[in-house]
């Protein structure tokens, strides 16, 4: 994913270490679900 964005010319891309789980375990604020937005599944 990050590689794809790099291809598009974006230079300042960083994946979050540990992902969403790490954010939640650190106890930082989260935004409650607004609209259930599923994404298109086909790649």
């Amino acid at each position: 994913m990050a590689a794809k964005l790099k291809e598009k010319g974006f230079q300042r891309i960083r994946p979050l270490a540990g992902g969403f789980q790490a954010w939640v375990s650190a106890g930082f604020e989260v935004q409650e679900a607004t609209l259930a937005t599923d994404l298109p599944t086909s790649a």
């Binding site: 964005l5 891309i13 994946p15 270490a17 969403f20 935004q31 679900a33």
Partner: protein, 268 residues
């Protein structure tokens, strides 16, 4: 070399069992050549093909089941543990979920044919609360299809395999050295790729503390939530301000955003 074949013929089942157990347990020791060789030996009457198959399936299920239980007990942490050993945490978790999302339980039956997926599928099935009996059924079926194909290949092409073995026998000690060299090269390649991948990832990533600081200081980075639908439904909260994002929408969502914009990606 002759002795090696004798050894495999005598301790064949034990050898097959250990090999499959170690490979499915996550070690980079290929089991496929062993299964093909065992199949060829079975065609020559030196081993029993059904027994080889049964032993391979048993070893595979024994290796997978603890990971299934770990997935059920420890959730995504178990998946991360598996991924850390195999390749990269980020890409691994995402890809696995994508496969599971699209093919469901059927993906367990074909898991052994997808490189890297076979080790992550069992903990994922555990995380998603697949009933134990269902997991065992699909996992056993998957192991049988995989080992069956390899053994059948060995039986079918036993003449070619025999000729190859004969060629190695002819080379004597050199043949053995060549085999060991091949295995060493294979291990070295896997290891080099793992080290390289982890280094690239470690350098480029941002910690949760740093991201939080960016937000507090008002830097407004663009945060993209690239979790799969599966894990999003599992926990539909997001990091404040994050945009749900899929590779399909790359162009439309990023239209008009300058390339010097700071972008943070996160997944599960």
């Amino acid at each position: 070399m002759d002795q090696l074949v004798d050894l495999i013929a005598r301790y064949g089942l034990l050898f097959v069992f250990a090999n499959v157990l170690l490979e499915q347990g996550g070690l980079p020791i290929p089991a496929l050549p062993t299964l093909v060789l065992a199949g060829a030996l079975a065609a020559d009457g030196k081993l029993s093909a059904p027994l080889v198959l049964a032993v391979a399936v048993a070893a595979s299920v024994i290796a997978d089941f603890p990971w299934f239980l770990a997935g059920r007990r420890f959730g995504y942490r178990a998946l991360r543990a598996v991924c850390r050993v195999s390749v990269s945490p980020e890409s691994c978790v995402r890809q696995t979920e994508g496969i599971f999302e699209r093919y469901g339980l059927m993906s367990l039956a074909l898991a052994k044919f997808i490189p890297g997926y076979s080790t992550v599928a069992p903990p994922l099935a555990g995380i998603l609360r697949t009933p134990t009996a269902t997991f065992l059924l699909y996992n056993t079926a998957g192991a049988a299809v995989w080992a069956g194909a390899a053994v059948a290949g060995g039986v079918l092409f036993h003449r070619q395999v025999d000729r190859l073995v004969a060629a190695f026998e002819h080379m004597g000690a050199w043949g053995l050295a060549l085999l060991l060299l091949g295995l060493a090269l294979y291990l070295l390649m896997r290891w080099a790729r793992l080290v390289q991948f982890q280094r690239v990832l470690r350098m480029a990533r941002i910690s949760v503390e740093d991201l939080r600081r960016l937000l507090v200081e008002g830097h407004n980075p663009l945060i993209l939530d690239v979790r799969t639908n599966l894990s999003y439904r599992f926990d539909p909260r997001t990091i404040p301000g994050a945009i749900r994002f899929h590779l399909n929408e790359l162009d439309e969502k990023l239209a008009g955003i300058p390339t010097e914009q700071e972008i943070i990606l996160y997944c599960t």
